[in-house]
Subunit: 92 residues, 5 copies
């Protein structure tokens, strides 16, 4: 999983089977100095994440398996909204 | 999933089992300033995406599971054609 | 798998099904000169890893399969706490 | 999937179960200006790709599922030999 | 799959279910000019690879499926010890 900031959302009318009624958010992964880090990811959201919130995103089959219908072609899901995190400088 | 622009298509006569009758498009991932971002991906298209359109691409097993025949060796599928997206600057 | 240092932990109250009672640690992958290498990963920990410890992290379906309940959407798990490692300079 | 050029092949006598009688080719991913792009990949070839040919490579479980015997530990397969491709400049 | 050089090994006493009795080697991926290329990977070894040897590594579910017990959380396995490889300069 990775932590990122929700920066937006995306809409599609023409889509594949199983993509109906999904809220798709755009996530910018961040590092722990809260800088942008790596490419943005589009993830399905079923827990009500809002713009600007930090979220935990899971990818691949583990994320897809949340949907009982195995034909939902979703490869990334927001699995938690971050309340807090604690990071230590262990480089010394 | 990621968002990219359809920049072309690719044809192959000699191919593996399960690759027959698939339309294969070349996708350039983009970031939200719409710059190119990362390596191009070849994805199967069953929803009629055209050159220059922005699409949502899903990868890995979640994408492959769209095909009921489990032997189709496709690891990327266009799952939506982008109507619109909204991105906020949350860095402040 | 990869080796990284546990640098912190993250908490979420609002979360997906299957994410209850999981301890989520933040891992910084390292190379063998022990420099930081690549993006941080959030991994579930069931073996009691502490801040500053070096751990082995497994990802994707192999990691998820540790949980008998297939709907736990975890894509990274700490699978070992490193006791020692030995690296040789084989470049000559 | 991605497109790359077959640049060589690799042989191994001592190997895991399921790796017998596989032709393993070395693929250099390319971008659409045909420059090298990203790390080389070792992929199984069952369709007769030759050195210098452009091929489509699929990865992960979708690729592995081509083999009915589920214990073949192959994570990349050549799924097509490119006849032609067409790329448009959509950046304007 | 990718080719890398075995540069070391790593030991863990405290570990997850299914990680017992596994020999874990550290692999440095290489390119075909035999330069280091990308982050090191920890892979299980069941075929007796030694320090300094070039090996083929497979990742993800295809690698995990080598283990009949589906709860072994291994996401990378050495699947072959390289005898020889042949690379052509196809850039012209």
């Amino acid at each position: 999983m990775f932590v990122g900031t929700v920066i937006g959302s995306v809409w599609a009318t023409q889509k594949e089977v199983g993509m109906e009624n999904l809220k798709l958010m755009i996530i910018q992964p961040i590092d722990w100095k809260e800088n942008e880090s790596g490419q943005t990811v589009v993830a399905a959201d079923r827990i009500g994440a809002g713009i600007g919130e930090k979220v935990i995103v899971s990818r691949g089959n583990p994320a897809r398996n949340l949907f009982l219908n195995k034909q939902i072609p979703v490869d990334a899901v927001i699995v938690g909204i971050v309340d807090s995190f604690e990071v230590h400088d262990v480089s010394k």
